[in-house]
């Protein structure tokens, strides 16, 4: 079988899985899986760029995804004027003082020598820290005191506010779309800082460094309430697509739904999800096209040359560290964009739900299973593994129900078996990863 035919069949198979889900579990579920699958495919593209193209081992995907989510709040929510006057500028001044301290320390360490250097560094650190905390803490306290139950944070940049029609129903707000590139920028900024410090190190160290930074990003998002309300979550993010309730009250929409033989409720939920699907598919196709262009350009060939033999590439005059930094930033930015898209889809930012197993290691399973080094493989892996991740739980439950059907109701073993179905996901994902690595290490669509 030639590769093109095989790849088409593989994608057709994934399509068939989704269509099958639509027939068995309803089109709402199928579209839900497809939408998150598209987002996952974008994340997988980002990781594939880093790992497949350049051999960089980034296991901090979760952090970049979360930064994308943060961007949706910073862009999409209306600013909280009271909080800004209560301490907004003070917090920013505090953070700037913190940065100034770091700059001062770096400067002192360059200028001074010997014992003066050590003493100067310590003195600058202590003085800087005390001033920073004094300014920053007061500002934070001011912001967080502003109506903590509903705001207590600075809000975002969306001064145009929620749009409503004549009947006071919510309308789509396209401003939030700006959050997607913004998410990419935030993630790129973080990636630049990490890359500058950790990329010169060995691959295992980079792995630990990215794992650590991801945990720190989540810790910051959970604890800095002034930024995005921490674990109190930000709900009601604006949406770039029509709201279901608004659609259901639109006579024109009800009539059109009826002509398809659908009730307004189902029709509106499916319509909204389809709008997201179109938006996500556009982003995915653009990024996929760019990634393909990059892969087949001289730049892409250079990247793979560096990956396969760093020393030889360096001898040919390639700046390995700079190229690594470049691709690390690009890949992380893509993860950030995907993270912003995901939070937009959810309509809320919940820092407590970011878990490394789900947002870092699952993405890795997608890339490896799809085929590292191949963009189409990453996309295929993204959708396929996401489908599996969602479906394993009901499938496990069904399996356990069949297996335990012979046992008496209420018996301890039976309850144990039914309960354990909830943990099927991790086990299955691990097995899939191990089996693919062992028997088909190049993945479903191997690198050409």
């Amino acid at each position: 079988m030639n590769p093109a035919l095989k790849n088409t069949l593989l994608f057709a198979f994934v399509g068939l899985l989704l269509v099958g889900t639509g027939f068995v579990q309803g089109w709402n579920s199928a579209l839900f899986i497809l939408n998150m699958g598209l987002v996952s495919a974008i994340m997988a593209l980002g990781v594939n760029l880093q790992w497949g193209f350049a051999g960089l081992f980034n296991i901090g995907v979760m952090g970049f995804v979360a930064l994308g989510g943060l961007a949706t709040v910073l862009i999409g929510m209306p600013p909280v004027g009271e909080a800004w006057s209560a301490g907004g500028l003070q917090v920013i001044a505090g953070l700037l003082l913190g940065v100034a301290t770091v700059v001062a320390v770096v400067f002192l360490r360059k200028k001074l020598t010997g014992r003066a250097r050590t003493l100067g560094t310590i003195a600058a650190l202590i003085v800087g820290f005390v001033i920073y905390r004094a300014v920053y803490d007061a500002g934070v306290a001011g912001i967080e005191a502003v109506d903590p139950a509903s705001t207590g944070y600075l809000g975002g940049l969306n001064i145009f506010g929620p749009h409503r029609n004549a009947n006071d129903m919510l309308l789509p707000d396209y401003f939030i779309l700006l959050a997607w590139p913004m998410g990419g920028l935030l993630a790129a900024g973080a990636a630049w800082i990490i890359g500058k410090t950790a990329l010169g190190l060995r691959s295992d160290y980079l792995a630990i460094a990215t794992l650590g930074i991801a945990e720190i990003i989540i810790a910051v998002m959970k604890n800095e309430d002034w930024l995005a309300r921490g674990v109190k979550n930000v709900n009601g993010l604006p949406r770039p697509v029509p709201y279901e309730v608004t659609l259901q009250s639109d006579p024109g929409f009800i009539a059109r739904a009826a002509s398809f033989g659908l009730d307004p409720l189902t029709a509106s939920t499916i319509y909204t999800k389809l709008c997201y699907t179109v938006l996500f598919a556009i982003v995915l196709l653009v990024l996929l096209w760019l990634a393909q262009k990059a892969l087949n350009s001289p730049w892409g060939r250079m990247m793979r040359a560096i990956r396969d033999n760093e020393t030889a590439a360096e001898a040919m005059g390639k700046d390995v560290t700079a190229r690594h930094l470049q691709i690390f930033i690009l890949g992380s930015a893509i993860c950030g964009i995907a993270g912003a898209m995901m939070t937009t889809l959810d309509g809320q930012l919940t820092p407590g739900t970011y878990q490394p197993l789900r947002f870092t290691f699952l993405i890795w399973v997608m890339v490896i299973v799809g085929g590292s080094g191949n963009n189409f493989g990453a996309v295929l892996g993204g959708i396929l593994i996401w489908w599996l991740w969602v479906q394993v739980e009901p499938m496990g439950l069904g399996l356990m129900n069949i297996l335990s059907s012979g046992l008496a109701d209420g018996s301890e073993l039976k309850e144990r078996m039914i309960e354990s179905a909830a943990h099927m996901r991790l086990l299955t994902m691990g097995l899939v990863l191990l089996l693919v690595l062992r028997f088909s290490p190049k993945g479903l669509i191997p690198e050409r």
Binding site: G55, F57, I59, F129, D137, T197, A198, L201, R202, S203, D204, Y205, A207, I208, A209, L211, G212, I213, E215, I216, A219, K222, N223, P356, L357, F361, W364, V365, I368, E419, S420, A422, H423, M424, R425, L426, L427, T428, M429, G430, L431, L433, L434, L437, R438, P441
Partner: protein
Amino acid sequence: MDFLNALVALANFVIVPGLAYGAQLAIGALGVTLIYGILRFSNFAHGDTMAFGTAMTIIGTNALLALGITFGPLPTALLALPFGIGATILLVLLTDWLVYKFYRDQKAKPVILVIVSMGVMFVMNGVVRFVIGVRDIRFADGERFLITARDFKEMTGLREGLAIKTTQAITVVVAIIAVSLLFWFLNKTRTGKSMRAFSDNEDLALLSGINPDWVVKVTWMIVAALATTAGVLYGLDKSFKAFTYFQLLLPIFAAAIVGGLGNPLGAIAGGFVIAFSEVTITYAWKKVLVYMMPDSLEPDGLVQLMSTDYKFAVSFAILIIVLLFKPTGLFKGQSV
């Protein structure tokens, strides 16, 4: 008197918890460092190996309690520890035979083994959840305190109390025993010496007739024992939860790298460095400073450098600082 009070407060809130946590991290980091030294990859499944060992020990503890057997004032889990270690040894040997051996024979790149260990991590995490669930489990029984804050105050007449939990004392004692046994094994026995030879120079060790399969098997057994011990001690001291053990991976790796990957002595030092930095930076120093400073200078705030939620940031920051200035760690470790 104030000085003594300050000292006792410091011991109570910083030194004792730091020692216990440091010992737990050190034993965990020893496992990571041994795998790195002998099998030459960073084992991401280590946290879940610890969780599996602890889960098995908890099951053993429950069985013993059901039979009416307790360990007097000490936690029953210590009696069940050998059972947990045995089960974990079986699991890691099985994993090695089923999974890692293939890649070793192929001489796969270390990074491939790291990804493989990610798969193993997923599976082990799933197995632990199957076996014991995701709830928070406390399994420490026996006496809770070696000395309570109240007794200490009555004994010494100081205003500050010093409480030492039984689990903290046990942690330190068990850690000392485990580390001495390990070092005796590595330095005095034939197998231990061949392990060190294998770690230093694989080709030379093979040439001189060392059986690599045996070395690898023994390494896994030791690592399983260390991981289970570390996991049980941590669980006794705090509580058992599958997810927490996964998160321990970061401080443990930080400890192993700070000390120098592949260097057992470094792993121990690294464990204490990380533990004490975490505790001192997230501790509210007000209590100690109130005793030490003249009244006019008493601090208003808690004098906490960072909130406890940022303890990951501390291990991470130390890791980065050490890596930037001493890339092979405080004690000379290996680098690939």
